[in-house]
C-alpha cells in the first residue's frame, strides 16, 4: 500500500502524502523524542522532516525504501535541532519523562536518572545509534544502511555510545557511594 501511495505522492498527490504522513507520524515522533529528549524539539524535527520529505520525494528512486529514507531525513533533522540547542543538553535538571504507558517499573529511578543524564551528554549521532539499536532493534549493519553511513562508523558510534553510557552509570554510582560514605 505504501508503495502506491509513495508513487502517487511522488507525482505530486498531496492527499496521498497526507495519508503517508499520518501513518508514519507517530513512529517519527517516537524516534525524534527519544533522540532529542524534548517533545517540542522533536515536534519541530518531525514537522521539518515531513516538509523536506514532500519536497524531495521525487528524488527517492526506490519507493519501497520510503520508511528508511524518511527515518534518515528525521535523523538529519534531529541533528539540526540538536545543533541549534547545543547548550541545552548539559547541566540540565532531569525530570521524569511522562510516557503514555508511564515510567517503566523495572528500571529504578536512580538508574533512570543516571541513564538520562548520561544520554543527554552524548553527541546526537551516538544518541541516534542507541535509539535505533535499543528502541527499533536494528543491527549496526541495518542502521548503517538506513542512515547512509559505513558499517564501521555505525559500529564505532555504538561502541563509544555504550562506553559513555556505562561510564556515566558507573561514575554516578561512585559519586553516590562516596557521598553516602562521607555522610556517615
Amino acid at each position: 500500500m505504501d508503495r502506491d501511495l509513495v508513487e502517487q505522492a511522488q507525482r505530486g498527490d498531496r492527499e496521498a502524502f497526507a495519508i503517508l504522513a499520518r501513518s508514519h507520524g507517530d513512529r517519527l515522533m517516537a524516534i525524534a523524542q527519544r533522540i532529542l529528549r524534548d517533545v517540542g524539539r522533536a515536534e519541530d524535527a518531525v514537522q521539518q522532516t515531513l516538509v523536506i520529505a514532500w519536497r524531495e520525494l521525487p528524488s527517492l528512486r526506490d519507493p519501497d525504501r520510503f520508511d528508511a529514507w524518511l527515518q534518515r531525513l528525521l535523523v538529519n533533522a534531529s541533528y539540526g535541532e540538536a545543533r541549534r540547542s547545543r547548550a541545552w543538553n548539559a547541566h540540565i535538571r532531569v525530570l521524569p519523562v511522562d510516557g503514555q504507558g508511564g515510567p517503566d517499573e523495572s528500571l529504578s529511578l536512580d538508574n533512570r536518572d543516571r541513564l538520562e543524564r548520561g544520554f543527554r551528554r552524548l553527541p546526537p549521532d551516538q544518541r541516534a545509534m542507541l535509539v535505533f539499536t535499543h528502541y527499533l532493534g536494528l543491527s549496526p549493519t541495518e542502521i548503517a544502511e538506513r542512515l547512509g553511513i559505513p558499517v564501521g562508523t555505525a559500529n564505532s558510534r555504538l561502541h563509544y555510545a555504550h562506553r559513555a553510557m556505562r561510564a556515566a552509570i558507573e561514575a554516578d554510582e561512585r559519586t553516590v557511594t562516596v557521598a553516602r560514605g562521607g555522610s556517615r
Binding site: 504522513a21 514532500w54 519536497r55 531525513l73 519523562v97 503514555q100 517503566d104 528500571l107 553511513i149 555504550h162
Partner: protein
C-alpha cells in the same frame, strides 16, 4: 562493573518510556506548509533512465563488441611492440603507459567565461521554475548580478575538491569518486551531495543529482541548488595541463 547484557537491558527499558504519538496540530502544520511547497524535481530524471528501444540496444551492443574485438586485434597484432617478436625496441626502454586505474577526476578543470543566458539555460534545463527562481531572488535579466560568478574552476586532488568562481576560492570540501560516473562531496565527514559526471577526452560534464543533507530551511536548500546548478552545469569543463 556493568556488563553489556545489563546495559542492553537497562537501555531497552529506558527507551520504552517516551512520547509515541504525534500531535494533530504538528501534522496539520506540516501539511499546511506542504500546500505551499513545490516538489523538487530531480535533475537526473528527464535525462537518465530513458528506456532504450530494442534496435538501439542491439546497436549499442554491436558497437561495444566491435570496439572490444578491434582493441584485442590491435594489441595482439603481428609485429606489435607489446612483447611481439618483431619488436625492435627493448621492452625496458619502452614508454610506460599512464596508469588507467587512477581517478580521472584528479586535476584542474575550467570553464571559460559563461554568459547570463547560459546560466539561465542551465537552470531551465535542470527544471527550476520561474517561481522558484523568483523566490530565491534570481532575476533572469542579470542572473542576480552574476552573483555566482562567470568563469568556474574545479580542482580535484585525491580527497579534496575546491571550486573557484572568477578566480576566487568559493568552497573547499572533501569528495570521493564512487564509480566511473559518480562522485560524492560534502563539507564535513558526510559526503552528502551526489554528482554524476562524464569525461570525454579533456571535457568534463557534471550533473548534481541529489543532496541528502537537508539544510535548515527550504529557502536555503533552493539557493544551494541554484548555486550548484549554475556552477557545475552551466558549461562543460576543460582539463588544464
Amino acid at each position: 562493573m556493568t556488563t553489556q547484557r545489563e546495559l542492553d537491558r537497562m537501555l531497552g527499558d529506558f527507551f520504552l518510556d517516551g512520547t509515541d504519538e504525534l500531535a494533530d496540530r504538528v501534522l496539520d502544520a506540516a501539511l499546511d506548509q506542504i500546500e505551499d511547497t513545490t516538489q523538487r524535481r530531480p535533475m537526473w530524471a528527464p535525462r537518465r533512465f530513458s528506456p532504450m528501444n530494442l534496435p538501439l540496444r542491439f546497436g549499442m551492443a554491436a558497437v561495444i563488441a566491435i570496439i572490444a574485438v578491434g582493441g584485442a586485434l590491435y594489441i595482439f597484432r603481428p609485429g606489435s611492440s607489446v612483447g611481439g617478436p618483431g619488436s625492435s625496441v627493448p621492452a625496458s626502454s619502452a614508454p610506460t603507459p599512464a596508469p588507467t586505474a587512477q581517478n580521472p577526476l584528479i586535476g584542474t578543470w575550467t570553464t571559460g567565461p559563461t554568459t547570463c543566458a547560459q546560466q539561465n539555460a542551465a537552470l531551465a534545463k535542470a527544471g527550476f521554475t520561474a517561481a522558484q527562481l523568483q523566490s530565491d531572488g534570481w532575476d533572469a535579466a542579470t542572473c542576480a548580478g552574476m552573483k555566482h560568478g562567470s568563469a568556474f574552476r574545479l580542482q580535484f586532488t585525491n580527497t579534496l575538491l575546491v571550486f573557484y568562481q572568477d578566480g576566487v576560492a568559493g568552497w573547499t570540501g572533501t569528495y570521493q569518486a564512487v564509480d566511473g560516473q559518480t562522485f560524492k562531496a560534502g563539507d564535513s565527514s558526510t559526503l552528502y551531495i551526489t554528482y554524476h559526471y562524464a569525461i570525454v577526452g579533456d571535457q568534463l560534464t557534471i550533473d548534481m543529482v541529489a543532496d541528502t543533507l537537508p539544510t535548515a530551511s527550504g529557502g536555503e536548500q533552493l539557493g544551494e541548488d541554484i548555486a550548484q546548478t549554475v556552477i557545475y552545469e552551466t558549461a562543460t569543463f576543460t582539463r588544464q595541463p
